[in-house]
Subunit: 352 residues, 5 copies
């Protein structure tokens, strides 16, 4: 997943629309939500004429596109809104890095949403593209997950500023929804890291290195997604565009703070993980040390004794000690003394 | 603690006030200190009217808010002072990074204070937010710890510049108090690092890796808090705001120097800690080496002797050596020579 | 290959044309493609007069030069187009880093194309130089590989914008073709890394370190080629040149995004590879640990038993145990107890 | 020493003068050197009146303050020259990083001088503060070491430019004297590193890790002192102050080059030291390898022989080999063959 | 060599001319080459008058100074050309980093030339200083090596641009000659690295760590010399000086590309070397593993057998097995089974 490739586009004309995936095409579904302070209507777009008509509405109009696999639909949408062919290519080709591009009549943004699956613990990502015009906003989602459900709810309930302000505020709210998902996924990742940390500090987990490696990969993927996201928000909040009202700046700055917080936490995770690698490796070394100590203690205690026993097991004719009455007890005593001496030596070395 | 999450806010409208913690709410207590060179009065705010009245005072007025868990109180305060909803959200949601934001009528600052508990050795942090207006200053503390006690004392005693200058100087003094706590905590951390260093250089501490890891985490947390703090102070001392008088610049520059000193020391600690990891790991290797040497010396000395003893313990009918009168002493002599040879070999290798 | 040297040029006058390689010279072949929206003609240049004539054409003219080993041909070309001697030196001396240089009448670009050989798995590179004039473009390829075949096909089929726009668009299309090859090679490299990762996580591959090292080298070479490439495209898309039409900017920005994506993936590969080194080294340590455990268990079980057996193999006259009826069974029982005790000990230590 | 703390100032009013050390106070000694091209007089300041009088002199006047422990003296000096309270605080509190601050009438600089003690090999540091006015210069030294002795000598001998130029040149000469000490200390450090390098490459030094760690600490301390020093000199040589004459620029640029050279050498030392850690660790591993080889060779040679001897030491009634005439020599021959075979095997493995 | 120190200058007046080395002084030899397109004359300068006369020549005049040990000669030259004392100090004190400084009438450059000695494999460096005036150029070489011989040849043969252009082009040609030497030395270094790489990947070289360390040191020294060199050339090619004609820019840009290529290769070497350290260390670990395996296999095979043999070597009166007819063959059979079982176990573990 980290290395999704654009290799299959090699040799094609730039700007050609080819969906990135070989999977069966996600049907492209377009909902049109037209609203102002007093009015809200949601319809499903069934043909292009409808889209063209709604585009001309003086109210704020949100074109919510789910599934970008049907290239023809995307292409017709592009024609209606006069989008640059490269914009459409980026919408369809879902391997983009987050970025923002300003065109004459619209601003084009690519975001990555992450999703943490609580059952499997897997973190997947999804490309979200926004095109912000003077009175309309198009949102493209790669898949059909209900990413913007809560936003739609809020719109319908007419709560707060969202109904009073323009499509720029709507864009901000959608970006906020995307970024909130990072916190959820990051918390899950953080929990896994703390669990691994506890396991490592307590004892031996044969799978620890695999888990560590996997977490590192995930943190790496996160980082790759969130750094350019920060740049996108920074550009909007600092330089901005004439399509973004000045009142939006505190909100965008807040969004920017969120991305910085996410980066902070990702970097902290990475630092923690590289610290855990040290803990793990030093644990391996310590266990080896302990194994070696046991071997050394046993061998050092018994090898001299075995030698002594072997010595008096020799069959020489003339071995006067063997005849002595106290020979056997004497040897036993020598053995005992040797063992005690060794034990004292080990204790001094703090091996026992 | 490092990974406190904003995950629970996912799906909510931006700017909603939700306290970050599930703990029983800290009661919000507001003290109002109104002063000029000749006058000082401190009252506890009991209702909003009082706050609104004091806000209009021509004297310097310090609204000292302790505990940010009571969302309604904070919210009413925000209305009286005309604060942006995102400012209130940042005050209540105490997972912010230190930052400074300039609004039309006020400057909003978020700081992190650290607290070193001498009994447990734990380092905890607490969010402090300051809102600086033309003639007033609001300070929000996350908890109820007496962070600004000494400043209040100084105010009451009427010592020094503090009573002659405006709320910008008061803000500076509060920031200085916050930053001074870093030095205290950093010194405690530094002492622990030096203690660990001595333990590591002297010998074997089975818990060393855990302590090292823990200290690393703490230094990491420190670093995360203090870098953005530096940016806050740098912004104030360089670009500044019209709410901050030009005379304040030497003071802010001094504060900036303090944050740089703190960063310097944190980085030094991190370098020391990564040096200690090397010391630790090389210590582990050296101990392993020593264990192996003992095993090798013992085994190498006795294994050949044991073989010899075994050889003359065989029960072959025809073994002429066994009949010889000097067989036994000869074998003993050979053994002695072998041991001495080995010892010389080991000495040459500097194993003994 | 990484360290191709300019050492043989030491002591020569700057700007002298010396081909970098000692290999037999690649014949230099020049094709001239002259086209506008309605017209296209391709001829092979047989003498200089022809080149000079075509250069004056009002249509877009593409001089496609393959093989830069014939210094005289390159030199004559340089005279016709009035190229700076250092430009010709850089074309012939194929150890350049990617770069762009603006001259009065033309823009000179050096690129590196990579080629992944599916049979051998080897990645080779080739220098491509472009000189963009007002109405013409010269492309120099180091070797004779059909790098620009698909572009030529598209031109001939008259598809898309390529026939309507100027030589700047043609230059963009050629750069796009070069950059697309990176995705192909990068995907191959990524597959090898994932294969190695699986091998490492599953078990022991004696060649793993060699493969890891080889992949690291390749990633390093990639990185070296692609960073300056990014700068080239960034310069074109940001500062640009009067020879590049403003309409080209979205295309160049898209190209820039591609180079950033490539860099992202190369950096990810490098991170993965350094993570794999940790996995590999911890695997080696773990295997050593396991070997040591087996040795320790066997030795610890049997060494005391061997000692006991040796003890009762001594030939002392007076050893009362030897006379006892239950001596032998008792010793066997003691041995059994010792073995069981040891096994319990090992189980507690989780060695079994 | 690296972590000298400002912790004891926590809770105090900013700008309070508290000496940093608990040691008995260094007496503060003030010498006044007044000079121009033709005149030089040095007196010891006994009271403030004298200082105030000399300050007004049209000649260049150097106030040379040694020992900053007597807070009252420093404080009075500050009043006479109208120094900002924070400047005095920085002079007395000798834990500052090197820095430069421009005030209306004077420039304030903090430097760190290092001193290498040839007998103990210890490197200590000392804070030097300079305040440069229109016609006067104050130098504060933390201790009483004769740091500026040679400069005073040169002044008295009337050699060179020093007597013709203003206090800015004097400041430069003092800074040069401070920076020259770095070269001395750095050379001593470099010698120690080279010595350690030789020891490590030749063989085993049980104290190597301690020495390495100690040198790393020292290089770290150096680095911490010299980076901000570079910034100080860079500021003076680039932006400068109206108090520094334009003619001074080549000199300041030269000083800047010196600080860059020092940083270069410190970084080189750090690189060398981290290379030495690798050398050390690989040495430890190699020695372990050698120990293991000796053990393995001895054990592998003798264990099978001992088994054979044990085999024919068994007391079975029916063991036909024991009765054979050539049994004993045959066993000896087998043993010999086994040993020779092993030795050939080891030689092939290059263990011998 | 890396840490040549300026320590002996501590305490001296800045700008004093003291040669850095204690070696017997290199005689300073000055050749004067005066030329324009049609004329060239080379004379050896025998006294100052001659130098002063030639300086005034309207032709391009190259003062080629070899050996900077004779301080008086350098000093007189400085007076004639009006050079700043610090320039002379930098010429004589050959521990400078490469740098460029612009004075009113001349530009002063310090370069480091490297020399690879093919016989000893040693890389030495030499300081080259250039002073570029309106119509003259002075080149100072630290030693007497014929560094600029080929340039002089080219001048005399009247080849190429060199005779038509001014002293700025001559300076460029000399810098080019210096930089070309880096490629030669770098190629030699690269060859050594590849040789070491082959040795490491093939097997065990006991000196590998020493060679690795030595190569690292050399790469470090290279890097230290070439980074500031790049800055020098960058300054000349970007900001430039009025003494450098605009036509020079393509040449300087080319020179800059060369320095960047050198840096690229040095960084590649460093990466390769740190990769080789990993290869080396993993090789050490693998060899240790192999040694341990041999020991473990032998010990595990024979220790149980030895125990069994010892068991039936006991002298108990009542040991029924000893009386059995098939006792001995049965024990032999058990031993055989045990050995076979072990071998199967080892094969499963892939130790055999």
């Amino acid at each position: 997943m980290l290395l999704k490739s654009m290799a299959q586009k090699a040799g094609m004309s730039p700007g050609s629309l080819v969906p990135i995936s070989d999977e069966p095409v996600n049907p492209t579904r377009i909902s049109i939500i037209e609203y102002d302070q007093d009015y809200l209507e949601q319809v499903e777009a069934t043909d292009e004429g409808m889209v063209a008509k709604e585009k001309a509405s003086p109210r704020v109009t949100w074109f919510k596109v789910e599934g970008v696999g049907q290239v023809e639909a995307i292409s017709r949408l592009g024609e209606i809104f006069g989008l640059h062919p490269l914009v459409l290519e980026d919408v369809v080709n879902t391997t983009q890095r987050p970025k923002v591009e300003e065109y004459e009549d619209y601003v084009f943004m690519v975001l990555k949403s992450v999703h943490y699956d609580q059952d499997t613990g897997a973190i997947s990502d999804e490309q979200v593209s926004l095109v912000l015009g003077r009175s309309w906003l198009i949102s493209f989602q790669e898949g059909g997950r209900e990413l913007f459900g809560p936003v739609l709810e809020r719109l319908k309930k007419g709560r707060g500023r969202i109904r009073q302000l323009g499509p720029d505020y709507l864009a901000y709210v959608l970006m906020d929804a995307v970024i909130d998902n990072y916190f959820v996924a990051l918390e899950a990742l953080g929990d896994e890291v703390e669990e691994l940390e506890d396991d490592l500090l307590e004892g031996h987990d044969p799978k620890a290195m695999h888990r560590l490696h996997e977490l590192k990969r995930q943190a790496m993927g996160f980082r790759k997604a969130v750094w350019p996201l920060r740049e996108v928000v920074a550009w909007l909040s600092r330089e901005g565009s004439t399509l973004v009202h000045a009142d939006m700046h505190p909100f965008l700055r807040d969004l920017y703070d969120h991305t910085v917080q996410i980066i902070d936490q990702v970097e902290t995770l990475r630092d923690l993980l590289s610290g855990l690698l040290d803990v793990y490796l030093s644990g391996v070394s310590n266990r080896m040390n302990e194994v070696m100590k046991v071997l050394t203690i046993i061998a050092t205690l018994f090898i001299p004794l075995t030698f002594l026993a072997g010595l008096y097991g020799m069959n020489f004719k003339w071995m006067p000690e063997l005849e002595w009455k106290w020979g056997y007890p004497a040897v036993l005593a020598i053995m005992l003394v040797s063992v005690i001496g060794m034990l004292i030596y080990f204790r001094r070395k703090k091996w026992l």
